[in-house]
Symmetry: C2
Subunit: 187 residues, 2 copies
Amino acid sequence: MQQIRSYFSKLIKLTDQEWADYADCLVKERYPKKSFLLEEGGSCDFIAFVEEGVFRFYHEVEGEEMITAFFFSGDFVTNYRSFLTGAPSEHYIQVLQDATIYKISKKDLHDLYDKHRSIERLGRLIAENLYLMVAKRLDAFHSSSPEERYYDLVNRNSKLLQEIPQYMIASYLGIKPETLSRIRARK
Amino acid sequence: MQQIRSYFSKLIKLTDQEWADYADCLVKERYPKKSFLLEEGGSCDFIAFVEEGVFRFYHEVEGEEMITAFFFSGDFVTNYRSFLTGAPSEHYIQVLQDATIYKISKKDLHDLYDKHRSIERLGRLIAENLYLMVAKRLDAFHSSSPEERYYDLVNRNSKLLQEIPQYMIASYLGIKPETLSRIRARK
DNA sequence: ATCATTTATTGACTTTGGTCAACGAAAAGT
DNA sequence: ACTTTTCGTTGACCAAAGTCAATAAATGAT
């Protein structure tokens, strides 16, 4: 839980009281491998902080699983779109490695926004950071080849490479498993 | 300027005082066709609202222009990454049609965040909305073919199709002009 | 430890988009 | 109006990723 506070402290300084109020809203939960944190059709009414474990965020397109993101220890896990809009999720969030998370509900978070200015500001800073992350990824899809995207991943995120099966990495990169296998083979 | 207030009102209700303070920070500027609102290397210290005109947001990759976005009347125009991080822009923002905009500086906006809770909240809501837009576009690149992306555009944004030359649309879609021409030719 | 299933690789072939070049149409400059 | 440049289309060819199928390797279940 201290991990969360230190994550926040990079964005904004919270008083002990503000943090205590935040921490009061966090609920610890365990999820076994292969279970679902969120299923298609459900509305995502929480944001969770990953203490331990791995998740994948995916949806089905014409019978095929399209993986959009992985979440590891230290990340926030949520369907941010569904969380923000209240719309039913088109995505699944599934556990790949036994997980422990701290959840905060949408309602509690909004109450905290009302109660503490700094937490409202934290909410803005987190939204801004998520924007930066997804904008960067869009840029990679817009201007890089699959091969370039793969080697970017190799350079930046070796953890992902080690813990995730290759066919899921292929999906994440937007290519077929055979193609990823060939990219690795050439050179 | 009333256009801006009505845009905001879809996100949050501002009091007359809050709006007056916001409006006081807005500076009207005109830009002729082909001029630049932002050039590579400069830091983007503003967000602007487009009253009239068209902009393109692009950067150079190996001597080639990659267009990431277009901005029309009613949109916000900025390099949001550079605005948020303070990092120098890798992108240009160029005027395609003579433009009139209302600028607010980063400093003034942050002062408004401090002064009015509702405006801080507005900042969060805008960041959240920008996240949703870019996440949607990422999804299109991740799971659709160029042809599908083109027809999505045809369905959703006929204004863009009419006002932007085809080779720029191709760049925006992440394909070569010849390929777009062929997509249009095949039935 | 064995068997069954899933995952990764490889080959042959297809599809799609990129490259290079030519040409005509449209737009901009004089 | 005329010239020059830019833009859009088309053809021939190339490169990269997808498809389908076979097989090997790794993983899981019993």
